[in-house]
Symmetry: D2
Subunit: 375 residues, 4 copies
């Protein structure tokens, strides 16, 4: 802290720190600094804001802008050199922690047919959402999961995992989502390379789906005791069908349209301890109202087109575009089509907020719930 300016956070409000610098006080502050200490009242108003003020910025990355450069990675580095060929998304307010928003990392990964990365595991929870290509697969703790567009797959914290594309597949691109920044922030990030580089596959392909993707039914005698979902892949077709089905009997959320959370079928809870995910459908012509939540969101449009207004800024999106909503910023969504629905995938850190008792949400009261656009 600069010597000259210990009173820059003063607020003239009863109950808040409001201490002017005097020579005697400044001398005292310098003395405290020598002791590895400081006077709380010089920083209290800064570290105790009236409400959250995220350093993350709302952002949108257009897939059309990125796709060519993602594909170029195929030629620039080998998987052996790079580990994984990924272009990560960098929020200007979070570049120090390599986050797309809050403590969430995201990137676009690309692989060629016949490639398979080496296996590893880490404290970070990870997911991927398939954007294009055929033949992609992920192996998780001895089980192979086959992947198509808009499929959502988990590689939970602590599981051995590796990705690949079948010889007869095509170039694949998917979105990675992880909480690497949070694991680092919490000083809890461990990383291991698989001792044999590639794990053995010793379950039937997609066994997790056959076993757990049966609504209202569970295998007798299951002794699942992990903190993440035993259902590791959520396929697009039944997900879209569920949105249609639920949409027929609900008015939907005023803020989000028809929104369903991906859940752990063993508990009804979030898919992983630190990352949750959802799929939402905006019906033809739907315009939602604004609310704000404690929690950070990374969105991908996976069907249709529309726009979102985040903290007063409008972001137009179409299929495969990615955008982020920082914590406690108002946001509302619109489907640009009057005839087709639009679907948005998102992952977020609400499981963290809820586990710690910090989740809060608030509707925008003024202007019929719509934000004025900042131009």
């Amino acid at each position: 802290m600069s010597d000259a300016n210990y009173d820059s956070y003063r607020e003239d409000v009863v109950g808040r720190a409001n201490v002017t610098d005097t020579p005697e006080r400044v001398a005292y502050y310098k003395r405290l600094a020598e002791l590895g200490t400081g006077a709380l009242w010089t920083v209290a108003n800064k570290i105790e804001p009236w409400e959250p003020a995220s350093t993350s910025q709302p952002m949108l990355w257009r897939y059309n802008d990125l796709r060519e450069d993602v594909l170029r990675a195929l030629d620039l580095v080998t998987p052996e050199e790079a580990g994984r060929r990924v272009v990560y998304l960098e929020n200007p307010g979070r570049s120090d922690v390599v986050a797309a928003v809050g403590w969430l990392y995201s990137g676009l990964q690309v692989m060629k047919p016949g490639e398979c990365a080496s296996s590893h595991r880490h404290s970070a929870s990870a997911l991927r959402f398939i954007m294009e290509g055929s033949g992609a697969f992920t192996n998780v703790d001895g089980q192979k999961l086959t992947l198509g567009a808009n499929d959502f797959v988990l590689t939970p914290n602590g599981t051995w995992h590796e990705h690949g594309v079948a010889e007869d597949g095509s170039i694949c691109i998917w979105q990675d989502g992880l909480d690497i920044p949070l694991m680092n922030a919490l000083d809890a990030n461990f990383y291991e390379v698989h001792p044999e580089l590639n794990q053995a596959v010793n379950y039937p392909v997609d066994a997790s789906v056959a076993t757990w993707a049966n609504a209202g039914l569970r295998p007798w005698g299951s002794t699942w005791d992990k903190r993440y979902s035993p259902l590791l892949k959520y396929e697009w077709a039944p997900t879209y069908e569920a949105l249609q089905s639920y949409g027929r009997v609900t008015d939907g959320s005023p803020f989000d349209g028809v929104l369903m959370e991906y859940v752990n079928p063993d508990t009804g809870g979030p898919v992983m301890s630190t990352i949750g995910a959802h799929m939402q459908m905006l019906r033809p012509g739907e315009r939602t109202k604004a609310h704000r939540q404690t929690g950070s969101f990374v969105y991908q449009c996976c069907k249709g087109k529309g726009w979102s207004i985040i903290n007063g800024q409008r972001f137009d999106w179409q299929e495969r575009d990615i955008f982020v909503i920082p914590s406690w910023m108002y946001h509302e969504h619109a489907n640009a089509s009057d005839t087709e629905d639009a679907c948005l995938f998102a992952f977020h850190d609400l499981p963290v907020m809820r586990s710690l008792g910090l989740y809060r949400e608030e509707a925008l009261g003024e202007n019929d719930g719509h934000q004025p656009i900042i131009t």
Copy 2:
């Protein structure tokens, strides 16, 4: 207790009561009886058996034997007179509590097109499993659920419910399952008739299914806080499909083949607090091994034919036959066909046993796990 015989439960085992009657002791026992008391050692071995010895008997009711008599009820009483036209199943060892086995009640209910019973609610948890007919429906707390053969529907404790058959349906028969005997045994049974006799239906038909029967997905913002499943109907088609799907990736249980529990999708737990249910598939030619469990089961064959050996007795069953397995009796199952699978629906009181920490199971060790038949 007869005077003459206070020492009839003696066991000559260290740590067990082994007190012979003497004139002095008998006089003492009579004196205690006058005080509203007794000597524990005269009954200790009786009330502390080495292992459970159920008074329930294994039983099978053939649908062919019962069907005509069930239909006769249509002519003998009106719904207004009878409340419900039901033929209940009576276990000879449990006739004092009107139970089919243990503390579980079961009966066959019949209704004609155009009929609708009056609405009521009670402490007992209830379910039905549709046996034949079209057009049946159940209303539960303001929601209409439409029912077809092999559909499984809940009317949980405390919910207003009523049953009927549409004007354009056919005569319907279904199996009722309740824990009325348990509620009475626990002195906890309350009963109410709906003040308006029939409740208003104010949700879309089958809304519960549209909302909750989506594997791995749940509606955002649900605040379900009941102790029973928000999914009130489990339809046959997806249930059978799930058995097929899971059957492709599992060896199945040695005791039960491919068995899936019906669960509450909000929690992964049992469908109701005091009654659970499952569907199991015996693959062509499958013969399972014997085990025993603390808990009572009411089975209905809903596809195929075969037999079960319960406590050494063989019971042959085919579609719509009902049989019961008392607590802690060995049981094993066989599919009689080498080409078709056989499916068995069951409901049971395992949620009670598990809630109270009393569930236990044991495989039969001898004879390769198969019981000798008692003839």
Copy 3:
């Protein structure tokens, strides 16, 4: 059921069964009986009462009446013969299941200095409450617990346990409480004699108390995972002190005065899965109001004197008297002294009722909450 009388439970209320016997119907009922079935409407009103109607009776056993006869057991049988010398309390409405009330067993056990019973374990949960004598001890799973008057000790289901009195002690009498009847009713009762008759003691004496009886503190790294309390003994002195302390800051319950539940310090839940217990203090001159609860209670007065009105009957009690309150019967309590407090210990089956979602309570609305006395 007697042939002549199938319509004895008729009720002339819409929604209830109201079917008169006719020759045709009676013939039908006989036909059903041959098939191991019955017509629900002949018993529906009986098995679905409007509210619980316990077969248990309110009862009080005076210690002065019982004490001499309990002591006589010392001369009449040896511990080796009897297993345990216990005079059990028999409710006239529950003599078939040897219960004091509902599904709860209770008895008075007596031992001489230098005696020690053999060790056993069972599915029933057990407790004891010390009435008189010095030097008593209980060993539970390798730990010795020393016992004095009004101490409350657990021997939870599945634990090896044995009781004794030290050589330098005096004759001891304590109250046993178990749920043997419930375990039998649920067909879940197992019993084992310790293979070595007496277990080794391999923990410090009263280690459980030293480790767990520290308010708001728990031992680091405890991996307790049993469903019963790791604190096995609740001593009288701190219990009475707690009542005093809490009494200074609470108005108390209008129905029970100052009432504290004994709890599992690891979870805050009941001491065992199927039996709970509490200690309550009626302040000088206190008269409580009546309420009723689903659940059965066995009380012992351990300090002072007073009376309770149960279902309109007055029961006067003093130190060491035992009385029972059946489920869903109104009850209210009075301290007969205007200068001394009175303390009542009780154990009950509320953990069962709560685990199964069946707990309900209701205050008496009329007459300022006081029952008229039935004379």
Copy 4:
């Protein structure tokens, strides 16, 4: 990131990123940066370390060094100006977030007799540990708690709270502990000043202690449903007694001696959702072994003297000294006296680590569990 140096995190290990800079690649990286993106392999090894590498430093603040300067605050600012007169502890590796270690804030607060701060509430969880003086009190949600040396008091997140010192008290100093930095990091920090500046006190003084500080007993009918402990104050005398008591029956932890966690008596869980606390006793002459944990600790010595070795550095402490242990750094403790015990209070973020499934610990294997001292 500086242009010149995209390959500074390379590791020559299979499965890790190992990509050298080439002109073509550097051009690519610059292109990506323009798109708000980056190449993962340039930072992967940095953001996915092999194990946690905290930026926090082990630190010790001597009370003798700080006390005079803390007292000087009394003259330099009024409570009205400062809000609270607090000297906070600043970890050189965490000065940007004003943390003493990890995401934990700590400071020393001083108040004069007759002063009382204004009331506020915030998302941060807070505690205080009394260091010296008499007459201190804290009001929490309408309840006054009186405080003496070594008492530990909670002001949980969301509760209105204010501190003061009675007119007839003396100057008081206590340690504050909060998770302000974590709340800011998670973008979840809200702050409110009480609308009437000081809240009404409408419970008996110390009611929480009278009601909840009774081992193994809880008030009947409590409907506590907060995520923090209903016991708001943990007094020193019973805490020290508990350590003595537990110490008589345990060998203690090889790493921590006799350690007891402060817990929520309603659940057995941590006192607050995001901050836990413990008191530990090192017996005369005790030298513990080293282990490391994911989680950050702030210690205060409250009795005796000794030293701790943290990450190879020795820190000598005596009564009232404060020191911190960063996440995943080895630490071991020693009591310097062979005749007196030493007691250490600590608060930490283990509830966060456990809620998120991130807690891990590891013993030092080499050198009989003792770290070599780095000099």
